[in-house]
Amino acid sequence: MNKVNLVFDKTLSNLAGYDYGRKIYDEQVRGQIDLYQDFTIEFPEQIRGVASSFVQGFFANIVETIGLLATEERTNIISGNSRVQNNILKKLQ
């Protein structure tokens, strides 16, 4: 399956910062999924809030590679937190 399960330190409830977003992408996603097919990113249930700065850093390389439209169309977000699941892609610009 074209999917990545993200892992964070157990003490983290929220994700913020452009640089941190890029770091997580580079460490856990780059090279692990085929961006030219539909893909799934799963956030652990511990994550309750995600800042737009993190989203923009995390998706920066994906958007550069396949464009914003394809990113929105192909990305499937899974999270135990419905608010996170529904709002992450809205924070892309």
């Binding site: 929220n14 800042a51 700065s53 996170v84 809205k90």
Partner: protein, 152 residues
Amino acid sequence: MVEVILSTIAIVVSVISIIVSAIAAHVANKQNLRLNKINMKARYYEKIFDEYLIRKIPQARKYLRFAENRLVDSQHLSDVLSALLNDSLYFKYDDKEFYQKLRHLIQEIEDYVLECGNRTYEQEDQAEVYIEIQRKLEKLYRYINDNYTGNE
């Protein structure tokens, strides 16, 4: 001789009057254009910012609280601020400098409230967090309002 002098004076005064009228008309026209631009900009400001400044941000701010010494329920405010940033994209093309600073101020607040949720604060430090959030929100409101009134 006197007639010639008087005629010359009359011509000079006429020319000066014409020049002054032309300048006054030009200045008035520029003023009107400026006022029209301000009115048009005011329409967009109200459309974009009113609901956020008056209702959405204050409502989302109400949810913030400390539980087990951590700032929680901050995702409401984070989501509202992200939505404001998205809805402000008009300014990316109308006033890029304003947009970039606005973006910086919004993301500064968003990052702060969410990062606060990742650590614990002793009782005596919790008030400082609320004060800092208040300060950042005031800075955002002031920046938007000052730009609206042309005081930026």
